[in-house]
Symmetry: none
Subunit: 202 residues, 4 copies
DNA sequence: AATGAATGAGAGTTCATTCAT
DNA sequence: TATGAATGAACTCTCATTCAT
């Protein structure tokens, strides 16, 4: 669950002090990228926040792209880990998706920078972007398939449904997690769960 | 329907020659931004493609941001106009959403640069980004409400449903429109329509 | 004879002003590289000397390496052009080599930066270095062969002799042209001519 | 004849372990400088090759320039020592020069990095460069004078001849030792010896 | 003696924007 | 309106050298 701290090229710090510095740089990077976006962010901004010299950055990362990549990976893992327990604990397939959305919105409210980081990767490092969403979609696909096998959901659930669910979650997270807190998370989650259960038809 | 061609500050070219140059710059910009993304795109790349001198760019636009903004607006309008007729012609609420998705995926297959432009605006000009999605969500909200009033859909449809639908569309467009053409548009649209009609429950 | 002024990629200036600027940058580069050597030379040093803005450099050259390359080529052509007339005018083969050396030392006394530029290319851009010396050696080889055909020189002159002659010239130029002016050029040239004529044997 | 291993400031290591480390660093430096040239070479490259920590370098040398200087000195001594015996054993003056060239080309074929090191010193540490060539020229001058006194060579041999001979050797070494092995060393040496004996005249 | 993290000056390069013609 | 040269701020990355352990 606790991701090993890794820099570029497996440059793993050999001393305790090194480990602390690396962690500090990563945290500072999350803030810098989150606040200013990839292109307006600067390495010197990161090291200033981290309280280390400019050059120290390059002791741990090969380039600006490299930290960003590490960060996308880090955030991607973090959401997954944050959402997983509640999903696993859910009594049935619909409840699992409801829990997934609820946890997700809750997470983005705590980490509003996540969109700035994961979504911007589409433009900075498309591979990371694709990897994140492809992996997430697969996870949802498996989840739906298992629920269908369980008899919780219709038998024909597919990748298309998974992408639909993921798309809903991402946009609802943006609207009700990042943009505005005006609507209760539970409320949103209930609404969606009901829609998933029986559709929009009358 | 056909937007007047406008540059920054509503600088509308007075001569025919000016109009041609402006159109050329805008088209070139769409290609340049689509291929390289906002930050890697360059004004000189745009003018080179347009076949005009670098300085001529500034006769029509105040800045790089300005063209980008104009382009986001342009693409936003284009999708809307491309999707609208089929939606209007649909016999009922579910069919309308089905048509919307179908048309949308069809559109992005023709204009794969749209994500590079509209989605990147989140990082370049957040106002344009918000405007595009807020406007789109409102349109869908109105559509759903009308269908509910018509008796086509459940009575409690809301903004939440609209964002859910929009999110689905955007991600399915990305997956089956931009990334891969491996699945028929009709197939995807049917699957989603069925899900919207009666949910995922058994 | 008069080399066309060329920048990188055939970026030929279109206006008269552009031509002046390019010439100014090249001249400044010769001074900067000559005084400080390739690595200690800086682009900003060049533009400062040329009296133009830093960025203007990149209007004409793609990189620091590129100017250097252009300069090596330029100097190489200059020596050749400076030496040629006297060589051509010489009455016989030995006299031609004598004239070549004399002119060469004279030239390096006027352009002491030439070693700093051509010889440093061995480390900066080996291709330019090789090209310069391979071309020069070929020229000497042809010269010797023609003189042999003429009956001026022994019949078996070869590439080996050409390289030997070139090496002598280069080192004598360094010693009596760049390092010290303590010995008359004619004196040196006479000594070498006599040695070439009849060797060191008694 | 075998130079004591010395670092900067005559810092001679006290322990056996220290001596091994120093030797390792010097050898690694020869390879690093030979392969990448002075400026592209890096201290970390040297220590990596030597298998010691970065900081250890500074236990033995004060700076990058210092190792380089030590190396130039080292190589200069090595050529001298490699060439000397055959020269001394030669029966007469021409034969001595022939032997010198032959040995020199042989040496550079084994140590192609020598040009990268000695010649680059012109740009890195001009004093070392001058010292090397001035010393070598003096040695040749003495050799020629002795041979003249012996009656082997013409009586008027001078410093000019010595520089001419040195220049030939250096360039023939570059051409037939470093660039290409296409011509036999003996062949080249014979050709030059014959030229030295009786010149190029008919 | 040895280690390896930390430092920070310095340089090359990019490119949006301005301006003289 | 069009042209293209000129500008210079800004940024990433390198690496010799220092220092605490």
């Amino acid at each position: 669950m606790n991701r090993a701290i890794t820099a570029s090229d497996g440059k793993a710090p050999r001393t305790e002090r090194g480990r602390r510095t690396l962690r500090g740089i990563l945290d500072a990077a999350a803030i810098e990228f989150g606040e200013r976006g990839f292109h307006d962010a600067s390495i010197s901004g990161i090291t200033r926040r981290a309280g280390v010299a400019l050059g120290s950055f390059y002791t741990y990362f090969d380039s600006k792209d490299a930290v960003f990549r590490a960060l996308v990976r880090d955030m991607s893992d973090q959401v997954r880990d944050h959402v997983a327990p509640a999903v696993r604990a859910a009594p049935d397939g619909i409840a699992a998706e409801r829990a997934g959305l609820e946890q997700f919105i809750g997470f983005v409210r705590q980490h509003k920078e996540i969109y700035r980081i994961i979504d911007e990767s589409e433009f900075v490092d498309p591979d990371s972007f694709r990897l994140h969403y492809a992996t997430t979609a697969e996870r949802i696909t498996r989840r739906l398939a298992a629920a269908a096998a369980q008899g919780d959901l219709r038998a024909d659930v597919s990748e298309v449904h998974a992408w639909a669910v993921m798309g809903m979650n991402v946009f609802l997270g943006l609207r009700y997690g990042v943009w505005d807190d005006d609507r209760g998370v539970e409320d949103v989650a209930d609404t969606v769960a009901e829609m998933l259960r029986s559709g929009l038809g009358r």
